[in-house]
Each structure stands twice: as C-alpha cells, then as structure tokens.
Amino acid sequence: MTATTSPDAHQASTAARGAAARSSGGAEPDVEILDVTKRFGDVVAVDAMHLRIASGSFYSFLGPSGCGKTTTLRMIAGFEQPTAGEILLAGQPIAGVPPYKRNVNTVFQHYALFPHMDVAQNVGYGLRQRKVERTEEQRRVGEALALVRLDGYERRRTWEMSGGQQQRVALARALVNRPTVLLLDEPLGALDLKLRKEMQLELKALQREVGITFVYVTHDQEEALTMSDVIVVMREGRIQQQGGPTELYERPVNRFVADFIGTSNFIPATVVEFDAGTRVAVARTESGLVLRGRITDPEGSLAAGDSVTFATRPERLDVIAAEGAGDAPSGVVQVAGRVRQGTYLGDQTEYRVETEQVGELIVSHQNASGAEGATGVGPGDRVVVRWNEEANLVLAG
C-alpha cells in the first residue's frame, strides 16, 4: 500500500492478466486503472493514475474538490474518456464502450431520480432496458426495495419522499441491476449530519450484504474512515496514498495525508542520522530539540541533512502542569510551554499550547474521568507537553 506502484510491477501483472489471473479466484480486481490520464484542455484532472480495485471491497476516493476523484469515477462509468491509459472492468478493456453497455451503476450526488415515475418504476428502469420479464422485474424491484428498507413504497412518487428515502431509492435503482461495481458520487452530501452518519453505517452494512464492489467518492475524511476497506487519498490528480483507515491514520506517508486525514502537529527538522535497517531517523529542530522517529513511507529514504517533518496526533500528546512535572523518562519527548486556549468539546478538551521550542501544539485530552478533566490546567498556565517517541511520524520534506 504505497504512494506509488513501480511501473515494472504493473506491466508484469498486466501481462499476467487473463487466464492465470482469472483462475486465481475472488482476488482478481474488478476495476483496473492503468496509467490513466485525463486532461480537460490544459488542466490535468487525473495524472497517470494507477490503481487496482479489489473485488467485493469498499473503496473510497478521498480528496479536496478538484483532486480528480469525481473525474475518475466518471471515467469508470463511461461519461468521460481517458486522454491516455486504459481502464479494465472485470478484466476487459472498456475504452469506447458507452455507459449503457457497461455493467456499472452510479448513485448520483443529487440522486437523479426520474420525476415522472413512481418508486417501483424508477427502481425497475434498468431491468426494463434489459428486457427483463415483467413478473421478474416486479420480484427483483421488491427485493431491492426490501434491501434498502423501503418495502411498501412501490407506488410512492419520489418527490414526495424525504432526502434519506430518495437516497435509498437511488441505491435500490442501482443495486437491482447487480452491477460489477457500484459507483457512488458523494451521495450523502445533501443529507443532514445525523442522517448522514446513519446512512454511512447502513451503506457499509449493505455493501457487506450484497458483496458488490463499491467505489465511493467523498471529500469527508470521517465518512471515508467510517465505511472504507481501502481509502485512496488524491490530490491534484495524483494518488497520495492508499490503504486501510488505520494505516492511513497511523502511518500517513506525507504531510498532505497527515493533514487531510485527522489533525496533526507538524514540527520541521533536519536529519542528523538515518538507519536504513530500522528506518529510524534522528533529527534536530531549529531550536535544537532532538527527535527520533520512524519514517512512514516504506519506499522513502533519508540522508543526513535532509529536511523532514515530524507529525504527531493531538490525542497522543499529554499536557501536564509544569510545576512538579520533573524530567521526562527516556523515550519520551517533553517540551515546555504555556496554554493559550482550552476548548471543552464534551468528550474531549482541546488545548492549544504555545511552546518556545516547536511552536504551537494541539493536545487533545479525552475527558474519560469527568468534565473539568484531570489535567487541571487552563489558559495562561505554564505546562509541559509530553509524548512517546513512538508517536513520531517522520515525513519526507
């Protein structure tokens, strides 16, 4: 799960695709995006993207708007054609195959339900295009509606339904066709927060139940973390990192990922020593603080004198009143500072601590033992911030 796959590996596996790959069973990818580039005029929307989407899994394309995630989705659906490269669907190249001949269905951002049809007619639309028999259509429409818990709504008009219900109709309309891949283009964006959270869990459960590959586009990192088996983080048309939620959160390979997924404290430093065997770097900040940590990018390499960024997650940091704090045990980083702000957020309190050595640090304290917290510190107090060296993520650049 690295930021980039080597081109050699890709070519070898492309050649091996076919009989050998087919016979290997369920592990073969449903969608293969092979060095795909998409340009709109001078703008490069997707830049030499290379990705395999494993069968039966929940993939999310995550990134800020304009990162190329929706363009990628539209290329899989067939609404856009790649400028260069190739997309394979279930092992078959699909260049020039129109959307209506691809066994792929999309759940659109604003549902795109047909206003002149009732719920059952909407859901059965795809089946009617394939000339599925009338009784068979009714049966499958009923099944699909039951799947999204809308049984009994067959004769409803879609514009009389709530946003969440319309969302389910859109899902049923896509799933009833049993697509190889289901594409979802920020489908929860129009729902309110509470409903969105419910639908996230429901979508994930639904995906497990039907076993169809889901490709989900979102700019919401929490949404991606909640549902995905694999998150593909994109920026400016390029894949930054792909991996499971834990991997992305615990071992982001660059500053963009560390910043986009969750919150991080960033401390710039210069490498003093790098051990290629243990992949541990020792570095010194401008203020002279020496930090140790493991580089997260498995392909990255460092040399003395390189500039790096140390990232730490706020919840890995502790804040303690300076008085009587004493010296830090070995393997623990300690910096002194003054609390600038403490924000009580219910389940946690977020402190912003101004330090002389490394600038501002965000410390998140879980209020596991009551409201006013056990830290006993507030704005203006002198404190020390401590964290275990193991929390240090070393990012190149």
Partner: protein, 303 residues
C-alpha cells in the same frame, strides 16, 4: 365576562379584516375581470344569440330563433368543408411545428452552451418585422422563379407550383407559429436536470431509449403547451391561406370573412364561429386527455 368581551372585539375585528381582504381581492381582479367580461364573455354571448337569428334584408342580423344556421353547416358537406380543412391544416401544422421545433429546442437547451441567448434572439428577430411582410416574402421564396421552379426543374414538371397549394399554406403556418412551439419546449428542456440523462444511460438505456423514456416525458408539459399555442391560432388562420394559398385553401377563417364581410350574413357566420369554438375545445380537451393518460399525480394543465 371580561374574556367574552375581548373575544367579541376580536371577532368583529376579524370580520372587518375579512371584508377588507375581500374588497382588496375584488379590486385586484376588477381590471382583468372587466376585460374578459367586455371583450370575451359579452361577444361570445352575442354571437351565440346571433347564431340562432336570421339575416336581415339588407344584411346583418334580425332577431329570430331558428336552427337553420347550424343545420346548414352540419347538413351540407360543402359548408362543413372549411372545418375539416382547417382541422387537418391545423393538425398538420402542429405536427410540422413539433417536428421542426422539438429538435431545435433540444439543440438550444442542451448544446447551446453560452450561446443559448444568441440562438433565442435569432429565433425572435424575424418577428420584429410585420407578419404580413414576412408572409409576402414567402411568396417570393416559394414562387416559380425560386423554390417552386427549382423543385419543378428537379422533378421535370414545368407546371409544378408550390404557391396556391396546401403545402404552401402548411409551410407558412409552420414558419409563422414555430416560436410559439419552441419557447415552451425550450423552457422545459432547459430546466430539466441533465444528470437524469446520465442516470438513464448509466442504467442501460441507449441514446434513443433515453430520449423516449426520460427526455420526452419530462418535456411533455412544454410540448402540450406549445401544441395548444400553435393549434388554436392555426384553426382560425386567415391571412396565410389567403396569401400563400391564393384563397384556394378555404379555411374557417376565410369562410367567416365571406359570411360577415361579403354575404353580410351575420347569423350564418356566428353559427360557424360557435362551431369553431366547439371544435377547438373538443380537440384540445381530447388531446390533453390523450397525452396525460396513464400519468398520475402531476397532471399537465392546459392553460
């Protein structure tokens, strides 16, 4: 007691409010109401009364109550002919407007891009010129020196003419009323959510299947409005058949002119006018029912 008084006070206040509100409604409706009463309802009543009368000696109307005027239209095939001609020309003209207008409206709405306004302007510009001048210019375009002669040459028939034939009238009708068909269609197609087309293709419908099952049904309200907007004036058209049809294509409009202005038989003309209204109402009602059948909920209204 105290509360009772208060309630009575509030009640009378509410009554006063209601009266004022009713008065305001009346004032707001008055201009339009008076307009319709004087210029629509009253003339309708008058021609209905006239249609049962007889022709005065020197022309015009003399009071009576006879059914001869209607009997003449319904009993005499020659007198009924303008109705069937009008009906068939108006239907053909409406279909013609649809065949030309639908692709045009679809093109402007979906492919117009930033030039939509320009296309609409181009469609409107000819209408800054007088209707008569535009119709007369078709005399030149379709004349024997131009299109008429050209088609004659191509098919090798020197006597071939377009002017004076139903075709010339049809061309004139479609040209004259096309914008009335294009605008409502354009508005519904422009308002239509384009992702519906993508959704349809995504669900396995080809381009044509998508047009038939999604675009057309959604454009239906515009299509119905447009059809009615062009059909009704076409039924009463007089100038176009007179100029481009050389008066040989005899529509109800021409028959009315003959009755009122030449024969000065007002009751006969009035009866024709009443029958014309009846035919139009029946046709439009039937048409609206026909295209709306099987559609539940969102009915498309006629007016």
């Amino acid at each position: 007691m105290q509360s009772g008084t208060t309630r009575t006070g509030a009640g009378s206040d509410g009554l006063g409010g209601r009266i004022r509100s009713a008065l305001l409604t009346f004032v707001l409706i008055l201009p339009a109401g008076a307009w319709y009463l004087v210029l629509l309802v009253a003339p309708l009543v008058i021609i209905t009364i006239f249609s049962f009368g007889v022709r005065a000696k020197n022309g015009g109307y003399a009071p009576a109550f006879v059914l001869d005027n209607y009997g003449a239209i319904l009993g005499d095939l020659d007198k009924a002919a303008p109705f069937t001609t009008s009906l068939s020309m108006a239907i053909a003209g409406t279909i013609g407007c649809l065949l030309v207008g639908l692709p045009l409206a679809y093109f402007i709405a979906t492919r117009g891009g930033s030039r939509k306004g320009l296309f609409i302007l181009l469609l409107v510009i000819p209408f800054w010129t007088s209707f008569l001048i535009r119709t007369y210019s078709w005399l030149i375009v379709l004349g024997p020196e131009n299109l008429g002669g050209f088609v004659g040459d191509v098919i090798g028939d020197d006597s071939f003419r377009i002017l004076g034939t139903p075709l010339a009238v049809l061309i004139g009708l479609v040209y004259g009323y096309l914008p009335l068909m294009v605008f409502p269609l354009y508005v519904t197609l422009e308002r239509m959510d384009r992702t519906l087309v993508e959704a349809s293709k995504d669900l396995g419908a080809s381009r044509w299947a998508t047009f038939r099952q999604v675009t057309l049904p959604i454009a239906l309200p515009g299509l119905i409005t447009g059809s009615i907007l062009v059909f009704i004036p076409m039924m009463g058209e007089y100038v176009i058949p007179q100029i481009l049809g050389y008066g040989r294509i005899y529509l109800v409009g021409n028959a009315l002119v003959t009755d009122f202005l030449e024969a000065r038989n007002w009751p006969a003309g009035s009866a024709k006018a009443v029958v014309l209204i009846a035919v139009m109402m029946f046709t439009v009602t039937f048409y609206t029912w026909f295209v709306n059948r099987g559609r539940r909920g969102r009915e498309v209204s006629v007016l």
